[in-house]
């Protein structure tokens, strides 16, 4: 069942937008609706999108709006149950056996149990939000394990029995879509595709994320980044890079570089691929001029 304490906070998509803005995250209507539905329907939220559009940031903001701790599980190829669920602290167990000598000792005590992210969330679902980051990097075996976890919200530890969540935890999954996820996983989740924002929104995000960037700078950066993204680049810049660029250019400008020059010199934080850099370099001056105009 959905978590009752979360329901009082999340009353409508508009409330979600307002609350996220308070956590310095600008969500559009559609993302807010997806978050609202995920929490109220008690389903995991699956966020997909290109790298750098703010999927992980969204998860952090959701945790903040609910006033909970974010538990992050970063996926990678070969991640397994010992990294995701639990592990025994074998060294301590061995020491304890030594130390106990002739006495009876329970080596499957809580003291020896290392809770990994999934177990941490099961133990205190009202205080934590689980983020399963970049699930597309894990392999099919792990996806199956996660699927089982997401449908029952319980973990069986042979030595201890089954641990079940008191209320259903809030789970957010993110994927860069480097591979297609299992259809069964998509089915169980509320789904949202995060795209790149338009120039106005991106300027707002830049203003919100950086402290001392002028509005005109933010708008120029947003316009230039829109143009650059339209080019066939190997790695198009994300929102995070745009924010960095605005920041870097502002710092350079304060250091004495004039405006168009500051943007050009800070390009390294925006485009991080040699080929892309050389293909965009001849046009960069014009793009910046146009964006500033």
């Amino acid at each position: 069942m959905p978590d009752p304490s979360a329901e009082t906070v999340v009353t409508s998509p508009e409330a979600v937008v307002a609350r996220l803005a308070a956590s310095r995250y600008l969500a559009d209507e559609s993302l807010a609706t997806a978050i609202f539905l995920a929490i109220r329907l008690g389903k995991p939220l699956l966020l997909e999108g290109a790298p750098g559009v703010g999927k992980t940031e969204a998860a952090k903001a959701i945790a903040e709006l609910l006033g909970r701790e974010l538990v992050r599980l970063q996926c990678y190829e070969g991640i397994d149950a010992a990294h995701a669920l639990y592990e025994w602290n074998y060294q301590r167990q061995l020491l304890a056996i030594r130390h106990a000598g002739e006495h009876e000792i329970d080596i499957y005590d809580d003291r020896f149990l290392i809770a990994r992210p999934l177990l941490q969330v099961l133990r205190a679902p009202e205080q934590r939000v689980l983020l399963v980051d970049e699930i597309d990097r894990s392999d099919h075996e792990f996806e199956a394990l996660l699927l089982e976890f997401l449908s029952d919200f319980q973990i069986s530890i042979p030595e201890r029995g089954t641990i079940r969540a008191a209320t259903q935890p809030i789970v957010i999954l993110t994927s860069n879509r480097t591979r297609e996820l299992a259809e069964a996983l998509r089915r169980r989740c509320v789904y949202h595709w995060i795209g790149y924002p338009d120039a106005t929104r991106e300027a707002e995000i830049i203003m919100l994320r950086t402290g001392d960037v002028a509005e005109a700078t933010a708008r120029a950066v947003a316009n230039a980044v829109q143009t650059i993204r339209a080019r066939p680049l190997a790695k198009p810049p994300g929102i995070a890079e745009a924010v960095e660029w605005a920041n870097a250019a502002t710092i350079l400008e304060k250091g004495g570089s004039p405006w168009p020059e500051a943007f050009r010199r800070a390009i390294g934080v925006l485009i991080k691929d040699e080929e892309d850099l050389s293909s965009i370099a001849p046009e960069l001056g014009r793009i910046v001029e146009e964006a500033l105009a």
Binding site: P13, E29, W193
Partner: protein, 434 residues
């Protein structure tokens, strides 16, 4: 799990609707009344709770009447090849109840979030949504512009492809199929059986992050050791070990199906079929003027059936080559280029690029930066007088790991089976020859 999509008998794979056939029917009655107007403001019960427990009675009759159009929309999507589970439909209705719904936008958002159309088919989804709920005519799915290289992924498009095969009896497609199957009949098919058997163990290997139990050369397996110690009542038997597993690398075959390769494409497809059957993780794409993924067609065990289906999926048989643009298109799809990472990539093409080869060079360089080993098999190299003399070949030679003879199945299978063995770079070999 992941086979869910590729399974042709999956219960969620809807049938492709024949060109708006059922839109016509539906529009007769519903064009005027917007379904929203017949929805109570917040009274739509979640269908799960309204359903009687007896499965025989569990029909649409028990749903509120206002919910029928929503169910109809989900069904329409399913007929059009979107994979939608019953669970998703009930979430969809619950979502609408939760949202009010106050406007059509709410219904759209709810549909997007719960029915989860893949981002690739988002436009198609929007078109269906508009035509269903606003009733502006049959959905016109526009083709992409000719400027961009078209990419065809066979996932989720299965039903459509079948239809094409069935309908176009006298067209070019079926002639291509016939050509393939007749060739298949003539050729000695046994040469590929040993290839298929040996492939999995012959592919280059890498160390996985997963570990396996081992008797020697490994790190201490504390988990198992400790349970041994406990069961032996504190005695420490010989320590148990674990070590990282080695697994075969992925194999990526890119097959040129343009006119100049006409003589070889049938052989190449048979080889690709054997490779998909034999290797754990293999992907096969064809390219000419477009890029087509044919892996799931080749997963069918029966070769004739697999090749016929693959042949039907490829639209650009025996046409021109746009090798550079198609390879760039391949790299621009994140999940395709992610597959190339760390894979053994074999391109089967004569690399006769028309016009400018700058794009080909870029694509090959990017591909080689991702791949474990990048090899080009050209049938032209079967001729002993062959030299990599064309401008395109000279340009890509430095990034190639191998440039070898692709004129016969024998030389190809031998080469692929030797991928794990180190060899000097292509440029070094061909420099000595010319």
């Amino acid at each position: 799990m992941s086979r869910d999509l590729t399974d042709p008998f999956s219960p969620f794979t809807g049938r492709r609707c024949p060109e708006g056939a059922d839109e016509g029917q539906r529009h007769d009655g519903q064009k005027v009344a917007l379904p929203l107007t017949c929805l109570p403001a917040s009274g739509v019960e979640p269908p799960v709770s309204t359903r009687p427990s007896d499965p025989r009675e569990r029909g649409e009759e028990s749903l509120p009447r206002a919910a029928a159009p929503l169910l109809g929309f989900a069904r329409l999507l399913r007929r059009c090849g979107f994979a939608i589970a019953p669970q998703q439909i009930s979430s969809f209705m619950q979502a609408i109840t939760l949202l009010g719904p106050r406007s059509m936008a709410d219904i759209r958002e709810a549909a997007l979030a719960t029915l989860a159309p893949s981002p690739d088919r988002r436009d198609e989804f929007e078109t269906h949504f508009r035509s269903y709920f606003y009733g502006n005519g049959a959905p016109a799915i526009e083709g992409e512009s000719d400027e961009e290289t078209r990419i065809k992924d066979d996932r989720g498009m299965r039903e459509e492809e079948n239809q094409t095969t069935r309908q176009e009896k006298g067209g070019e497609l079926s002639s291509a199929i016939e050509q393939l199957s007749s060739r298949d009949f003539q050729l000695d098919s046994d040469s590929l059986a040993p290839f298929r058997r040996k492939l999995a163990s012959a592919l280059p290997a890498r160390r996985s992050f997963r570990t396996i139990r081992t008797r020697s050369r490994g790190t201490l397996d504390l988990r198992r050791s400790l349970s041994e110690i406990v069961s032996a009542d504190g005695d420490i038997p010989s320590p148990l070990l674990r070590r990282r597993q080695t697994i075969p690398r992925k194999l990526l075959l890119l097959i040129d199906v343009s006119g100049s390769m006409k003589l070889h494409t049938a052989d190449y497809l048979r080889l690709a079929h054997a490779a998909v059957q034999g290797a754990g993780r293999a992907e096969v794409f064809t390219f000419g003027t477009r890029l087509t993924r044919i892996t799931s067609a080749l997963r069918i065990r029966d070769r004739g059936q697999a090749l016929a289906r693959a042949a039907a999926q490829v639209d650009d048989w025996d046409g021109g080559t746009r090798m550079g643009p198609t390879l760039l298109a391949f790299l621009s799809v994140p999940r395709f280029s992610a597959f190339a990472r760390g894979a053994a990539v074999v391109i089967l093409s004569d690399a006769l690029e028309r016009g400018d080869h700058a794009e080909l060079e870029t694509a090959m360089r990017r591909l080689s930066a991702r791949a474990f080993r990048l090899s080009l098999a050209t049938p032209l190299a079967g001729d002993p007088r062959f030299r990599p003399a064309t401008a395109a070949l000279r340009a890509v030679l430095p990034v190639l790991d191998d440039l070898f003879d692709g004129s016969s199945v024998k030389s190809l299978t031998d080469f692929i089976l030797s991928l794990a063995r180190p060899a000097p770079a292509a440029a070094a070999i061909w420099k000595g020859v010319s």
